[in-house]
Amino acid sequence: MLLKQAPAVIVQVKDHGDSDKIVTLYTLDEGKISAIAKGAKRSKKRFVNKLELFSLLNVSYAPGRTTSLARLDQAELITNYPSLHQNYGQYVAASLLCELVLFWTREHDREDELFQLLTWALEGLAMGVTSAQLIIFFHVKMLEILGFRPLLNGCGNCGTLAPQAAPYRFSPMRNGLICGQCEHAPSGPGLEVSMQTIQLLRKVQELDICKLPRLHFSKAAILESIALLKRYDSHLLQRELQSWNYLQQLL
Protein backbone atom coordinates (compact mmCIF):
# COMPACT_ATOMS: atom_id res chain seq x y z
CA MET A 1 0.00 0.00 0.00
CA LEU A 2 1.19 3.50 -0.81
CA LEU A 3 2.54 5.29 2.23
CA LYS A 4 1.70 8.90 2.93
CA GLN A 5 4.25 11.25 4.45
CA ALA A 6 3.58 14.40 6.43
CA PRO A 7 4.89 16.59 9.22
CA ALA A 8 2.79 16.00 12.35
CA VAL A 9 2.45 16.92 16.01
CA ILE A 10 1.43 14.24 18.50
CA VAL A 11 -1.62 15.44 20.42
CA GLN A 12 -2.55 12.22 22.24
CA VAL A 13 -0.87 8.89 22.98
CA LYS A 14 -2.68 5.84 24.36
CA ASP A 15 -1.31 2.41 25.12
CA HIS A 16 -3.02 -0.35 23.18
CA GLY A 17 -2.49 -3.86 24.48
CA ASP A 18 0.94 -4.99 25.60
CA SER A 19 3.04 -3.63 22.79
CA ASP A 20 1.12 -1.17 20.60
CA LYS A 21 0.30 2.50 20.90
CA ILE A 22 -2.50 4.49 19.35
CA VAL A 23 -1.41 8.03 18.60
CA THR A 24 -3.49 10.98 17.50
CA LEU A 25 -1.54 13.24 15.19
CA TYR A 26 -2.28 16.66 13.84
CA THR A 27 -0.75 16.54 10.38
CA LEU A 28 -0.09 19.31 7.91
CA ASP A 29 -1.58 17.38 4.99
CA GLU A 30 -4.63 15.73 6.49
CA GLY A 31 -5.46 17.46 9.76
CA LYS A 32 -6.18 15.16 12.69
CA ILE A 33 -5.62 11.43 12.18
CA SER A 34 -5.39 8.45 14.52
CA ALA A 35 -2.79 5.80 13.81
CA ILE A 36 -1.73 2.55 15.40
CA ALA A 37 1.99 2.08 15.95
CA LYS A 38 2.49 -1.68 16.07
CA GLY A 39 5.11 -2.81 18.56
CA ALA A 40 5.83 0.79 19.61
CA LYS A 41 6.05 0.00 23.32
CA ARG A 42 8.75 -2.59 22.74
CA SER A 43 10.41 -1.03 19.72
CA LYS A 44 14.08 -0.27 20.29
CA LYS A 45 14.70 1.24 16.87
CA ARG A 46 11.70 2.41 14.87
CA PHE A 47 9.73 4.41 17.40
CA VAL A 48 11.98 4.75 20.44
CA ASN A 49 11.67 8.23 22.04
CA LYS A 50 9.56 9.45 19.16
CA LEU A 51 5.93 8.77 19.95
CA GLU A 52 5.71 11.13 22.87
CA LEU A 53 3.20 13.90 23.49
CA PHE A 54 4.00 17.29 21.82
CA SER A 55 6.70 15.80 19.53
CA LEU A 56 7.00 17.27 16.04
CA LEU A 57 7.71 14.45 13.58
CA ASN A 58 7.87 13.55 9.95
CA VAL A 59 5.62 10.49 9.78
CA SER A 60 5.01 7.81 7.15
CA TYR A 61 1.68 6.08 7.46
CA ALA A 62 -0.67 3.82 5.58
CA PRO A 63 -4.30 4.99 5.66
CA GLY A 64 -6.71 2.41 7.09
CA ARG A 65 -8.50 0.29 4.49
CA THR A 66 -11.71 -0.31 6.39
CA THR A 67 -11.45 2.01 9.41
CA SER A 68 -10.22 5.55 9.95
CA LEU A 69 -7.28 4.15 11.95
CA ALA A 70 -4.07 4.47 9.94
CA ARG A 71 -0.98 2.31 10.46
CA LEU A 72 2.13 4.24 11.42
CA ASP A 73 5.10 2.94 9.49
CA GLN A 74 7.93 5.27 10.44
CA ALA A 75 8.57 8.43 12.38
CA GLU A 76 11.47 10.82 12.20
CA LEU A 77 11.82 13.19 15.12
CA ILE A 78 12.16 16.89 14.27
CA THR A 79 11.94 18.16 17.85
CA ASN A 80 10.41 16.98 21.09
CA TYR A 81 10.45 20.42 22.79
CA PRO A 82 12.41 19.14 25.83
CA SER A 83 11.69 22.17 28.02
CA LEU A 84 7.94 21.36 27.91
CA HIS A 85 8.65 18.20 29.95
CA GLN A 86 10.87 19.95 32.46
CA ASN A 87 8.50 22.59 33.74
CA TYR A 88 5.08 21.74 35.14
CA GLY A 89 3.48 25.04 34.05
CA GLN A 90 4.68 24.63 30.47
CA TYR A 91 3.60 20.98 30.50
CA VAL A 92 0.07 21.93 31.57
CA ALA A 93 -0.14 24.66 28.92
CA ALA A 94 1.14 22.34 26.16
CA SER A 95 -1.34 19.66 27.29
CA LEU A 96 -4.14 22.22 26.94
CA LEU A 97 -2.99 23.13 23.41
CA CYS A 98 -3.16 19.45 22.46
CA GLU A 99 -6.53 18.97 24.15
CA LEU A 100 -7.95 21.96 22.29
CA VAL A 101 -6.78 20.59 18.94
CA LEU A 102 -8.01 17.13 19.87
CA PHE A 103 -11.57 18.20 20.65
CA TRP A 104 -12.04 21.20 18.36
CA THR A 105 -11.03 19.44 15.15
CA ARG A 106 -12.47 16.59 13.12
CA GLU A 107 -10.48 13.77 11.56
CA HIS A 108 -9.16 14.37 8.02
CA ASP A 109 -10.17 18.03 8.12
CA ARG A 110 -7.08 19.78 6.78
CA GLU A 111 -6.22 23.21 8.19
CA ASP A 112 -2.69 24.28 7.26
CA GLU A 113 -3.01 27.45 9.31
CA LEU A 114 -3.92 25.51 12.43
CA PHE A 115 -0.89 23.27 12.03
CA GLN A 116 1.34 26.36 11.75
CA LEU A 117 -0.41 27.92 14.75
CA LEU A 118 0.09 24.79 16.86
CA THR A 119 3.81 24.55 16.11
CA TRP A 120 4.16 28.31 16.69
CA ALA A 121 2.50 27.98 20.11
CA LEU A 122 4.55 24.92 21.14
CA GLU A 123 7.75 26.69 20.12
CA GLY A 124 6.71 29.81 22.02
CA LEU A 125 5.97 27.78 25.15
CA ALA A 126 9.27 25.95 24.84
CA MET A 127 11.05 29.30 24.60
CA GLY A 128 9.42 30.46 27.82
CA VAL A 129 6.66 32.83 26.61
CA THR A 130 4.08 33.33 29.39
CA SER A 131 1.91 30.20 29.25
CA ALA A 132 -1.49 31.73 29.98
CA GLN A 133 -1.07 34.58 27.49
CA LEU A 134 0.09 32.17 24.79
CA ILE A 135 -2.93 29.94 25.43
CA ILE A 136 -5.21 32.97 24.91
CA PHE A 137 -3.46 33.89 21.63
CA PHE A 138 -3.68 30.30 20.40
CA HIS A 139 -7.29 29.81 21.38
CA VAL A 140 -8.56 33.04 19.82
CA LYS A 141 -6.68 32.39 16.58
CA MET A 142 -7.81 28.74 16.51
CA LEU A 143 -11.47 29.78 16.80
CA GLU A 144 -10.96 32.15 13.91
CA ILE A 145 -9.38 29.46 11.70
CA LEU A 146 -12.16 26.99 12.51
CA GLY A 147 -14.92 29.54 11.89
CA PHE A 148 -16.07 30.01 15.48
CA ARG A 149 -14.79 33.56 16.00
CA PRO A 150 -16.76 35.14 18.87
CA LEU A 151 -18.20 38.56 18.06
CA LEU A 152 -16.46 41.10 20.27
CA ASN A 153 -16.99 44.27 18.28
CA GLY A 154 -20.10 45.36 20.15
CA CYS A 155 -23.25 44.32 21.93
CA GLY A 156 -25.00 41.56 19.97
CA ASN A 157 -28.30 43.36 20.57
CA CYS A 158 -27.70 47.09 20.06
CA GLY A 159 -24.22 47.00 18.47
CA THR A 160 -22.62 49.53 20.85
CA LEU A 161 -19.20 49.14 22.41
CA ALA A 162 -18.69 52.03 24.79
CA PRO A 163 -17.70 52.42 28.46
CA GLN A 164 -21.13 53.97 29.15
CA ALA A 165 -22.85 50.71 28.18
CA ALA A 166 -20.65 48.63 30.55
CA PRO A 167 -20.72 46.18 32.22
CA TYR A 168 -20.58 43.85 29.25
CA ARG A 169 -21.27 40.17 29.56
CA PHE A 170 -20.09 37.41 27.24
CA SER A 171 -22.84 35.03 26.26
CA PRO A 172 -21.69 31.79 24.55
CA MET A 173 -25.27 31.22 23.40
CA ARG A 174 -25.28 34.51 21.47
CA ASN A 175 -21.67 33.95 20.37
CA GLY A 176 -20.76 37.40 21.63
CA LEU A 177 -21.27 40.32 24.00
CA ILE A 178 -24.33 41.83 25.56
CA CYS A 179 -24.20 45.28 27.13
CA GLY A 180 -25.57 46.34 30.51
CA GLN A 181 -28.50 48.12 28.90
CA CYS A 182 -29.67 45.13 26.85
CA GLU A 183 -29.04 42.56 29.57
CA HIS A 184 -32.71 41.95 30.09
CA ALA A 185 -32.78 40.19 26.68
CA PRO A 186 -32.81 36.39 27.19
CA SER A 187 -29.25 35.32 26.48
CA GLY A 188 -28.52 32.59 29.01
CA PRO A 189 -25.92 32.83 31.78
CA GLY A 190 -23.27 35.38 30.80
CA LEU A 191 -19.82 36.17 32.10
CA GLU A 192 -18.86 39.73 33.00
CA VAL A 193 -15.96 41.02 30.91
CA SER A 194 -14.19 44.34 31.36
CA MET A 195 -13.68 46.81 28.49
CA GLN A 196 -9.90 46.28 28.79
CA THR A 197 -10.23 42.53 28.22
CA ILE A 198 -12.64 43.04 25.31
CA GLN A 199 -10.20 45.43 23.63
CA LEU A 200 -7.26 43.08 24.17
CA LEU A 201 -9.14 40.07 22.78
CA ARG A 202 -10.19 42.11 19.75
CA LYS A 203 -6.56 43.06 19.21
CA VAL A 204 -5.62 39.34 19.30
CA GLN A 205 -8.30 38.68 16.66
CA GLU A 206 -6.97 41.45 14.41
CA LEU A 207 -3.19 41.10 14.71
CA ASP A 208 -1.00 38.72 12.78
CA ILE A 209 0.49 35.98 14.98
CA CYS A 210 4.03 37.30 14.63
CA LYS A 211 2.90 40.58 16.23
CA LEU A 212 0.98 38.97 19.12
CA PRO A 213 3.92 38.75 21.57
CA ARG A 214 3.87 42.60 21.68
CA LEU A 215 0.53 42.52 23.49
CA HIS A 216 0.55 42.49 27.26
CA PHE A 217 -2.36 41.14 29.28
CA SER A 218 -2.71 42.19 32.92
CA LYS A 219 -3.39 39.45 35.50
CA ALA A 220 -7.08 40.46 35.60
CA ALA A 221 -7.35 40.36 31.80
CA ILE A 222 -5.73 36.90 31.72
CA LEU A 223 -8.17 35.57 34.33
CA GLU A 224 -11.18 37.03 32.51
CA SER A 225 -10.05 35.86 29.08
CA ILE A 226 -9.39 32.33 30.31
CA ALA A 227 -12.78 32.16 32.05
CA LEU A 228 -14.44 33.38 28.84
CA LEU A 229 -12.64 30.90 26.57
CA LYS A 230 -13.26 28.02 28.98
CA ARG A 231 -16.98 28.85 29.08
CA TYR A 232 -17.07 29.08 25.28
CA ASP A 233 -15.41 25.64 25.00
CA SER A 234 -17.85 24.04 27.44
CA HIS A 235 -20.82 25.51 25.59
CA LEU A 236 -19.76 24.59 22.07
CA LEU A 237 -18.03 21.27 22.78
CA GLN A 238 -20.56 20.21 25.43
CA ARG A 239 -17.71 18.86 27.54
CA GLU A 240 -15.12 20.11 30.03
CA LEU A 241 -11.52 20.16 28.87
CA GLN A 242 -9.55 18.74 31.79
CA SER A 243 -6.38 20.80 31.37
CA TRP A 244 -8.21 24.15 31.92
CA ASN A 245 -8.59 23.39 35.65
CA TYR A 246 -4.86 22.74 36.10
CA LEU A 247 -3.96 25.88 34.18
CA GLN A 248 -6.32 27.96 36.34
CA GLN A 249 -4.75 26.49 39.50
CA LEU A 250 -1.39 27.86 38.36
CA LEU A 251 -2.61 31.43 37.78
Binding site: Q12, G17, D18, K45, V48, N49, E52, L53, F54, L77, N80, L84, H85, Q86, N87, Y88, Y91, V92, S95, L96, C98, E99, L102, Q242, S243, N245, Y246, L247, Q249
Partner: protein, 202 residues
Protein backbone atom coordinates in the same frame (compact mmCIF):
# COMPACT_ATOMS: atom_id res chain seq x y z
CA UNK B 1 -27.65 -22.19 18.74
CA UNK B 2 -25.27 -21.55 21.61
CA UNK B 3 -22.91 -24.53 21.94
CA UNK B 4 -20.87 -23.07 24.79
CA UNK B 5 -22.29 -23.94 28.24
CA UNK B 6 -23.23 -20.74 30.12
CA UNK B 7 -20.71 -21.38 32.96
CA UNK B 8 -17.86 -21.69 30.47
CA UNK B 9 -19.08 -18.67 28.51
CA UNK B 10 -19.08 -16.64 31.76
CA UNK B 11 -15.48 -17.69 32.50
CA UNK B 12 -14.40 -16.80 28.95
CA UNK B 13 -16.02 -13.39 29.28
CA UNK B 14 -14.34 -12.80 32.68
CA UNK B 15 -10.90 -13.87 31.45
CA UNK B 16 -11.34 -11.75 28.33
CA UNK B 17 -11.53 -8.65 30.52
CA UNK B 18 -7.89 -9.11 31.60
CA UNK B 19 -5.26 -6.93 29.88
CA UNK B 20 -3.68 -8.48 26.80
CA UNK B 21 -6.21 -11.33 26.63
CA UNK B 22 -8.51 -11.53 23.64
CA UNK B 23 -11.45 -13.88 23.11
CA UNK B 24 -9.32 -16.66 21.60
CA UNK B 25 -6.80 -16.70 24.46
CA UNK B 26 -9.63 -16.47 27.00
CA UNK B 27 -11.29 -19.53 25.42
CA UNK B 28 -7.99 -21.46 25.45
CA UNK B 29 -7.40 -20.59 29.13
CA UNK B 30 -10.97 -21.48 30.11
CA UNK B 31 -10.79 -24.87 28.37
CA UNK B 32 -7.41 -25.51 30.01
CA UNK B 33 -8.85 -24.75 33.46
CA UNK B 34 -11.81 -27.05 32.76
CA UNK B 35 -9.57 -29.93 31.68
CA UNK B 36 -7.38 -29.76 34.80
CA UNK B 37 -8.52 -31.31 38.09
CA UNK B 38 -11.27 -29.44 39.98
CA UNK B 39 -8.89 -28.80 42.91
CA UNK B 40 -6.69 -26.58 40.72
CA UNK B 41 -9.70 -24.51 39.65
CA UNK B 42 -10.82 -24.23 43.28
CA UNK B 43 -7.36 -23.10 44.35
CA UNK B 44 -7.35 -20.47 41.60
CA UNK B 45 -10.81 -19.27 42.57
CA UNK B 46 -9.77 -19.11 46.27
CA UNK B 47 -6.69 -17.03 45.39
CA UNK B 48 -8.82 -14.65 43.35
CA UNK B 49 -11.49 -14.42 46.04
CA UNK B 50 -9.00 -13.66 48.81
CA UNK B 51 -7.06 -11.11 46.79
CA UNK B 52 -8.92 -7.93 47.68
CA UNK B 53 -9.47 -8.97 51.31
CA UNK B 54 -5.82 -9.85 51.92
CA UNK B 55 -4.03 -7.11 50.03
CA UNK B 56 -4.05 -3.48 51.04
CA UNK B 57 -1.88 -0.44 50.46
CA UNK B 58 1.12 0.01 52.76
CA UNK B 59 0.48 3.17 54.79
CA UNK B 60 4.04 4.39 54.25
CA UNK B 61 5.04 3.63 50.66
CA UNK B 62 1.63 2.76 49.14
CA UNK B 63 2.83 -0.58 47.75
CA UNK B 64 0.39 -3.50 47.54
CA UNK B 65 1.06 -5.64 50.61
CA UNK B 66 -0.54 -8.16 52.96
CA UNK B 67 0.90 -6.34 55.95
CA UNK B 68 0.97 -2.69 56.96
CA UNK B 69 3.77 -1.55 56.86
CA UNK B 70 4.89 -3.72 53.95
CA UNK B 71 7.83 -6.13 53.99
CA UNK B 72 10.23 -3.53 52.56
CA UNK B 73 9.20 -0.72 54.92
CA UNK B 74 9.48 -3.00 57.98
CA UNK B 75 12.87 -4.44 56.94
CA UNK B 76 15.43 -3.06 59.41
CA UNK B 77 18.24 -3.75 56.92
CA UNK B 78 16.86 -1.13 54.55
CA UNK B 79 18.08 2.46 54.50
CA UNK B 80 14.98 4.43 55.49
CA UNK B 81 16.70 7.73 54.82
CA UNK B 82 16.81 6.90 51.11
CA UNK B 83 13.44 6.89 49.28
CA UNK B 84 12.99 5.88 45.65
CA UNK B 85 9.89 7.39 44.01
CA UNK B 86 8.25 5.27 41.30
CA UNK B 87 5.04 5.59 39.26
CA UNK B 88 3.59 2.14 39.92
CA UNK B 89 4.06 -1.24 41.63
CA UNK B 90 5.51 -2.70 38.40
CA UNK B 91 8.37 -0.18 38.55
CA UNK B 92 9.10 -1.16 42.17
CA UNK B 93 9.35 -4.81 41.12
CA UNK B 94 11.71 -3.93 38.25
CA UNK B 95 14.04 -2.00 40.57
CA UNK B 96 13.88 -4.70 43.27
CA UNK B 97 14.87 -7.32 40.67
CA UNK B 98 18.19 -5.50 40.15
CA UNK B 99 19.15 -5.98 43.82
CA UNK B 100 21.10 -2.71 43.51
CA UNK B 101 18.80 -0.58 45.66
CA UNK B 102 18.71 -0.98 49.45
CA UNK B 103 16.53 1.97 50.38
CA UNK B 104 12.73 2.20 50.65
CA UNK B 105 10.13 3.19 48.08
CA UNK B 106 7.24 5.56 47.53
CA UNK B 107 4.64 4.65 44.91
CA UNK B 108 2.82 7.56 43.30
CA UNK B 109 0.17 5.39 41.59
CA UNK B 110 0.33 7.39 38.38
CA UNK B 111 2.03 10.29 36.66
CA UNK B 112 0.83 13.85 36.09
CA UNK B 113 -1.39 13.98 33.02
CA UNK B 114 -3.64 17.07 32.82
CA UNK B 115 -5.44 15.76 29.71
CA UNK B 116 -6.56 12.70 31.68
CA UNK B 117 -7.56 14.72 34.73
CA UNK B 118 -4.53 13.62 36.77
CA UNK B 119 -2.97 16.50 38.67
CA UNK B 120 -0.79 16.66 41.80
CA UNK B 121 -3.81 15.99 44.06
CA UNK B 122 -4.75 12.78 42.26
CA UNK B 123 -1.47 10.95 42.95
CA UNK B 124 0.47 10.40 46.21
CA UNK B 125 2.59 13.57 46.06
CA UNK B 126 1.34 15.26 49.22
CA UNK B 127 1.99 12.04 51.17
CA UNK B 128 5.55 11.93 49.80
CA UNK B 129 6.35 15.52 50.82
CA UNK B 130 5.02 15.01 54.36
CA UNK B 131 6.83 11.64 54.65
CA UNK B 132 10.15 13.19 53.59
CA UNK B 133 9.68 15.95 56.18
CA UNK B 134 8.44 13.68 58.99
CA UNK B 135 10.95 10.84 58.54
CA UNK B 136 13.87 13.24 57.98
CA UNK B 137 14.70 11.54 54.68
CA UNK B 138 18.22 12.40 53.45
CA UNK B 139 17.89 11.53 49.75
CA UNK B 140 14.92 11.13 47.41
CA UNK B 141 15.69 9.27 44.18
CA UNK B 142 13.11 10.12 41.51
CA UNK B 143 12.68 7.05 39.29
CA UNK B 144 9.70 7.99 37.15
CA UNK B 145 9.75 6.88 33.49
CA UNK B 146 11.49 8.83 30.74
CA UNK B 147 8.16 9.49 29.02
CA UNK B 148 6.67 13.01 28.81
CA UNK B 149 4.32 12.51 31.82
CA UNK B 150 7.14 10.80 33.76
CA UNK B 151 9.58 13.64 33.07
CA UNK B 152 6.98 16.29 33.92
CA UNK B 153 6.17 14.48 37.19
CA UNK B 154 9.88 14.33 38.01
CA UNK B 155 10.27 18.06 37.30
CA UNK B 156 7.29 18.88 39.53
CA UNK B 157 8.58 16.65 42.36
CA UNK B 158 12.12 18.03 42.17
CA UNK B 159 10.81 21.61 42.47
CA UNK B 160 8.46 20.84 45.34
CA UNK B 161 10.91 18.71 47.31
CA UNK B 162 13.69 21.27 46.92
CA UNK B 163 11.41 24.09 48.03
CA UNK B 164 9.68 22.32 50.89
CA UNK B 165 12.17 19.79 52.33
CA UNK B 166 15.88 19.70 53.15
CA UNK B 167 16.38 16.31 51.40
CA UNK B 168 18.81 15.90 48.50
CA UNK B 169 16.88 15.08 45.32
CA UNK B 170 18.45 12.82 42.69
CA UNK B 171 17.10 11.56 39.34
CA UNK B 172 17.58 8.12 37.83
CA UNK B 173 20.33 8.35 35.17
CA UNK B 174 19.28 8.12 31.56
CA UNK B 175 21.66 6.83 28.90
CA UNK B 176 22.87 4.00 26.71
CA UNK B 177 21.72 0.48 27.65
CA UNK B 178 24.40 -2.09 28.57
CA UNK B 179 25.67 -4.00 25.55
CA UNK B 180 24.59 -1.38 23.05
CA UNK B 181 26.85 -0.13 20.30
CA UNK B 182 27.05 3.67 20.50
CA UNK B 183 26.49 4.15 16.76
CA UNK B 184 23.05 2.56 17.03
CA UNK B 185 21.88 4.75 19.91
CA UNK B 186 19.28 7.39 19.04
CA UNK B 187 20.31 11.04 19.25
CA UNK B 188 18.14 11.85 22.23
CA UNK B 189 19.43 9.03 24.42
CA UNK B 190 22.99 9.73 23.39
CA UNK B 191 22.73 13.45 24.15
CA UNK B 192 21.17 12.61 27.54
CA UNK B 193 24.03 10.18 28.23
CA UNK B 194 26.55 12.93 27.43
CA UNK B 195 24.72 15.40 29.71
CA UNK B 196 24.69 12.87 32.58
CA UNK B 197 28.36 11.89 32.13
CA UNK B 198 30.14 10.86 35.29
CA UNK B 199 33.54 11.82 36.66
CA UNK B 200 35.57 8.59 36.74
CA UNK B 201 37.53 9.82 39.80
CA UNK B 202 34.37 9.74 41.98
Amino acid sequence: MNVVPPALARLIADLGRLPGIGKKTATRLAIHIMRRPASEAQSLSRSLGELHGAIRLCGKCFAFSETNPCVICSDSGRNRQLVCVVEGPGDLMAIEKTGAFRGTYHILHGALSPMDGIGPDEIKIEALVSRVRKDKVVEVLIATSSTVPGEATAAYLIKRLQEETPAAVTRLACGIPMGMDIKYADELTLSRAIESRKNTCD
